[in-house]
Amino acid sequence: MDFTLKIWRQQNAAAKGRFETHKVAGISPDCSFLEMLDILNQQLIDKFEKPVCFDHDCREGICGACSLYINGRPHGPDSAVTACQLHMRKFKDGDTIVVEPWRARPFPVIKDLVVDRSGFDKIMAAGGYISVNTGGVPDANTIPVPRAHAETAMDAAACIGCGACVAACKNASAMLFVAAKVSQFAMLPQGKVETRERVLKMVAKMDELGFGNCTNTGACEAECPKQISISHIARLNREYLSAKIL
């Protein structure tokens, strides 16, 4: 298969970027999107040019490093996958593919398609944990957790922190990311204890970093590679409201 790629290139955070057009030919439909970029990079290196920088690591859809906005969709035109699990068979031969970095004020571009998502770590540091030290915890089976609650917690915990929710949201809101963590812990008795502090601190940090406000468009849910539901955002809102008025 042959493709025309329009790729965002930007030397560093301060530089002004631009789109660059490249062609790749003879790509196997079984090739993953990132492998297709590897092939492009090989071409560039052969021409003594700088390869395109993009974040990637596990290439099996779990580390959350990939952050490509492909033809108007985070992680491209397949549902419930990250860009590394997207295969070229999802495109048509001869397609023009536009590849952009995540765009959000709190995710500044570092180089080419690489963005700085350390804002997520800062939100986590603000309260995305249960305050227990190593050791001195009760036996794991001391507190039973209703299976349905554990399952809902696991649904939320599946978040890989890729930032597709922010990238997809027209407001660049990080609500789904924050909601996933708050919701996971709110569903478990172990986490319930400090829900109030957690939700207030995480939301305050999220706001401080300049993420947008949620307007319930649902784009995050539609693009989340782990299909995390916006019902977790409702739970976050609920926890926030009860933290404020109760």
């Binding site: 590897d38 859809g61 944990y129 249960i130």
Partner: protein, 646 residues
């Protein structure tokens, strides 16, 4: 061999760890904050260690090459984590977990370390539950267990098919809490390039900021390496693209001994290679073998017809299928340990019975779907089936999966003593990066256990025994002679790499090397191939340093430079792997020497001559390393031949 002193505490096996803790030196709280600890790597071992050390009050600096510590490759572990909780009342105990681990490791692991691992395994589960890890639960709300990798008891805790992810996020959360508390400082997108030794002790590291290219110096009273395995030396593996063995390799070059480098694990259930552009192999959880049956055609002509696509797998009648694991190992069948399953698949494919590209076998769920119904199979493996379909574009509910073994885990690693300290004082190694617990073969669901055991419950104790003597050592300025010298060497190395401006890209050369390594130091090895490998890798190293092409600059984000530096180390590691495989004239666990097998083709271990840990000492690039032997004594277990037939 005075170099190796494992410093195993006295006393009966079950009391060693308690005795150790009772007698060890501790650091008082006021002194803890005066002590800096560098932790390199933020996977299960690194993150849990950084969190625990931070909680104790030490001043921790945590480094990772990823943009966030949460992306460390522990996250990709699927199946589960073992613990001797005996919740199902099926006869599990600390002793049995220890026994299974030693046996599974083919009697090449250190007994005292393994016993301690089994002892603390239960604490890990308690800790993770308290952190909010959403383990699977039964309808009564208590934790669910499953049997994994052929264990006779159900001791594996799991969180769907994402156990590694959930455990890592738990450890990451705990670490981020300490970041907030100010005891841990994070250095993401920062790669360790060398260790700084001052008067023979590890005192710091040199790093490269992967965003700016800046070379930086960091001081620590102790350095902990938790950077995982070197499996990506093979190019194609289930490791992450950035996983590398460079931190451990630099430690080796600075004097730490490297143990059992040839012990790498080849996982039997990976999605087969499908093209030469391929960058990585995807693991399908071992749990699939609980319900899937592995087969190839009984007749070569059928295999050929399947390869050509002339017939479909379901066209092959049951009597024409060779369920070779069930045939060869009636007692364990499809649940034999990983090394055995992998070799059996290779044997069939080498004999011409492979399907797909010729290097694949079927993992078939037809029978279990018939027996249990599609719904049950979907509940158990739905996400795995979906993942398979996304990658291969075939529906595994209707046509059998194709699988083939792939490099997955490194049992070998930096040699450490009972305290997890390498032969360099003050340099510790934890998790997959060290060698101690899995011998020649790791059991399923044990890697997560070991990483967290080291990080939460072992290192935070043992490191204090070392640091207690360091409380009078003030923080060193990083412009001391040793720091500047080491930095100079790193700068020189990077500049040299940049200036080669040869013809071959890093990936091309890595792929070439990886294939050679797979052929000669892979699933089956022989002295001829290994000798050839040592020669070829040595000339490949020369070729690398004269013909590599790195575009871009040194003072900017440059993934090609990062990869080049890692591949340079991989080639040297490959050479050591081959040497280690060559000296070990036996077959054990993941190490299979064709010369040493039984008439039925099973591994033939040589306990009289090779029941030792092979620890290698660096003597210079291109020079033959020196082998040190740590004899292994099993006091509490009868050494037997592993038998999965009856």
């Amino acid at each position: 061999m005075t170099k190796l002193n494992a410093r195993i505490p006295e006393g009966p096996m079950a009391e060693k760890w308690n005795n150790y803790k009772a007698g060890q030196k501790l650091v008082n709280p006021a002194n803890k904050r005066k002590l800096d600890i560098i932790v390199v790597g933020t996977g299960l071992a690194g993150a849990s260690a950084a969190a625990s050390l931070g909680e104790l009050g030490f001043n921790v600096k945590a480094f990772c090459y990823q943009d966030s510590p949460r992306r460390a490759h522990s996250i990709a572990a699927q199946g589960g984590i073992n613990a001797a909780k005996n919740y199902p009342n099926d006869g599990d105990s600390v002793y049995r977990l220890y026994y299974d681990t030693i046996k599974g490791g083919d009697y090449r692991s250190r007994e005292a370390n393994v016993y301690r691992l089994a002892e603390v395994s239960g604490n890990i589960i308690d800790q993770c539950v308290a952190q909010g890890v959403p383990f699977a639960r039964d309808y009564g709300g208590l934790l669910d267990n499953r049997s994994f990798g052929g264990a006779q008891v159900s001791r594996t805790f799991y969180a769907r098919g994402q156990t590694g992810q959930q455990l890592l996020l738990g450890a990451y959360s705990a670490m981020m809490r300490q970041v907030n508390a100010g005891t841990v400082k994070l250095y993401p997108r920062t790669e360790m390039l060398d260790i700084v030794l001052v008067e023979g002790k590890a005192r710091g590291i040199i790093t490269r900021n992967l965003v700016t290219g800046n070379i930086e110096r960091h001081f620590g009273h102790a350095v902990v390496i938790a950077t995982g395995g070197y499996g990506r030396a093979f190019y194609l593996s289930t490791k992450a693209m950035g996983s590398n063995g460079s931190a451990a390799w630099q430690a080796y070059k600075r004097g730490a001994l490297f143990a059992n480098p040839s012990f790498v694990q080849i996982h039997p259930t990976c999605i087969p290679v499908h093209g030469d552009y391929q960058s990585k192999l995807t693991l399908m959880s071992e749990s699939l073998r609980n319900d899937g049956r592995i087969w190839v055609p009984r007749k070569k002509e059928d295999a050929e017809a399947l390869r050509n696509g002339r017939v479909k797998p379901k066209d092959i009648a049951n009597e024409d299928r060779d369920y070779y694991l069930e045939r060869r190992y009636p007692a364990f069948g499809n649940l034999v340990p990983r090394d055995v399953a992998s070799r059996a698949a290779k044997e069939r494919c080498d004999a011409g019975y492979g399907v797909g590209s010729g290097l694949a076998v079927y993992l078939d769920f037809e029978e279990s779907i018939g027996r249990l119904g599609k719904k049950v199979i979907e509940e158990r493996y739905g996400n795995l089936f979906q993942m398979y379909e996304k990658i291969v574009d075939e529906n595994p509910y209707e046509t059998p999966m194709m699988i083939y073994p792939a490099i997955h885990y490194c049992m070998g690693g930096l040699w450490v003593d009972y305290e997890l300290m390498t032969t360099i004082p003050g340099l510790f190694s934890i998790g997959e990066c060290n060698f101690s617990d899995h011998g020649a073969n790791r059991l399923g669901a044990s890697a997560l256990m070991q990483g967290l055991a080291d990080g939460y419950f072992i290192l935070p104790y043992t490191i204090q025994n070392y640091l207690a003597a360091e409380i009078m050592t003030p923080r060193m300025p990083v412009d001391g002679r040793e720091f500047l010298e080491t930095e100079g060497q790193i700068r020189e190395r990077l500049n040299r790499l940049m200036q080669i401006k040869g013809k071959q890209s890093v990936d091309r050369m890595h792929r070439k090397f990886g294939l050679l390594l797979w052929e000669m130091v892979g699933m089956a090895r022989n002295s001829e191939g290994l000798n050839k490998a040592i020669k070829e890798f040595s000339s490949l190293r020369e070729e690398f340093w004269t013909d590599i092409r790195i575009t871009g600059g040194i003072d900017e984000m440059n993934p090609e430079l990062e990869k080049a530096s890692r591949v340079a180390d991989f080639i040297e590691t490959g050479e050591l792997m081959a040497r280690d495989a060559l000296q070990r004239e036996e077959s054990c666990g993941g190490h299979f020497r064709e010369e040493f097998q039984t008439p039925e083709g099973e591994a033939s271990r040589n306990d009289n001559d090779f029941m030792f840990v092979a620890a290698w000492e660096y003597t210079g690039t291109g020079k033959e390393p020196v082998l040190h032997r740590e004899p292994l004594n099993y006091e509490n277990i009868k050494v037997q031949t592993r038998n999965y037939k009856i």
